[in-house]
């Protein structure tokens, strides 16, 4: 899912840097204003986690490989805005030190995996979770659904970004300059594997970790630590 340099044009890459730049600023501001000093170790922990989880390639239908990203999990644990920074750091280190993705395409990769995936996945999670708390089963199920939605939306974006290249950039005789495949190829190639195995892997990682932490460390979730324990009865009484 990391677009390497050369698969999309410098022009497309530049547009994604421009789109992503203000979101970085907003993410930094959220971190400065809303992220307490006590949550900085969590920021570092989640950045290392997302770096590592992306190393676990699994075989996907169609003979390709893919991996979970952890973007929605990060958003659930530290908030969707700080998640942008967390994913950006993991993607930047992957591109700079390991040649995974690219430096020119980093803006696009951050937009797909670091902005849209955590943001939209988080919104889906919130919508499904409703007012449930991390200790409840629906909370973890919502996390899994959010993860599934997030990775598939990212896969859709990658497919579109790659698939429009032959239309946008080609030689006078029509020979493509960058990604040679059109949307007819890129859409099924990205979506079929992710709607099935890739999405399932993301759902299992997101839902699994949230279920585990919800059971054993519910205080880790945003808004949980500060509140005094609310019993079911109290909560039902409030509603």
């Amino acid at each position: 899912m990391h677009i390497p340099d050369g698969y999309i044009s410098p022009h497309t890459s530049g547009i994604f840097y421009i789109l992503t730049f203000p979101l970085w600023i907003l993410s930094f501001r959220r971190i400065r204003n809303n992220l307490g000093q006590h949550r900085v170790p969590l920021l570092a922990l989640l950045a290392a986690f997302s770096f590592l989880i992306m190393m676990f390639n699994i075989p996907l239908p169609g003979g390709t490989t893919g991996h979970a990203v952890g973007g929605v999990l990060v958003a659930i644990l530290i908030g969707p805005w700080p998640a942008i920074t967390v994913l950006t750091l993991a993607l930047a280190v992957q591109a700079l030190f390991f040649g995974d993705g690219g430096l020119i395409t980093l803006g696009a990769n951050v937009f797909n995996l670091g902005v849209v995936m955590p943001m939209v996945g988080y919104l889906v999670f919130r919508a499904v979770a409703g007012r449930t708390r991390p200790t409840e089963r629906r909370y973890a199920v919502a996390a899994a659904i959010g993860g599934y939605a997030g990775i598939n939306l990212a896969a859709l974006l990658v497919a579109i970004e790659l698939g429009i290249q032959p239309i946008l950039h080609h030689m006078p005789d029509g020979t493509p300059l960058y990604c040679p495949y059109t949307l007819h190829v890129t859409l099924p190639a990205m979506l079929v594997p992710h709607l099935t195995v890739g999405g399932l892997a993301e759902a299992l990682v997101t839902g699994g970790v949230v279920a585990f932490l919800g059971r054993y460390h519910p205080g880790l979730f945003p808004g949980e630590a500060e509140q005094p324990a609310v019993t079911e009865q109290h909560r039902d009484g409030i509603q």
Binding site: L52, M55, I58, P59, F98, T175, L177
Partner: protein
């Protein structure tokens, strides 16, 4: 140390990371130039140019220079890459937080 157990879990993930390179095949749309030439019959010019101008990463493909040849060395290289990468990522998060906290961000 805060989140000690979680850091241990991440270290276990790093040690298990060679499992992630067992998957046969490559990610769709992340091929090298030779593969794309095989697949499509030609090397797109703009792609070739971007590839030629790309600086080599120190640990390209999560391999540590000098650690390759047999599966044992490749596996060790992957684990080392995982530890180095996770370490740099975590450290950069702390550094970035300091900069964001004490520096100025445009409003």
């Amino acid at each position: 140390m805060k989140y000690r157990k979680a850091w241990i879990a991440l270290a276990v993930l790093a040690v298990l990371s060679p499992l992630g390179i067992l998957a046969i095949g490559s990610a769709w749309g992340e091929w090298d130039m030779e593969t794309i030439q095989d697949l499509t019959g030609h090397a797109p010019e703009g792609m070739q140019e971007a590839r030629d101008n790309r600086p080599d990463a120190p640990f390209q493909e999560y391999e540590v220079p000098g650690l390759s040849g047999n599966w044992l060395q490749t596996g060790a290289g992957t684990i080392l890459s995982a530890l180095i990468g996770a370490g740099i990522t975590a450290a950069s998060a702390i550094v970035l937080h300091r900069i964001v906290r004490h520096g100025t961000i445009p409003r």
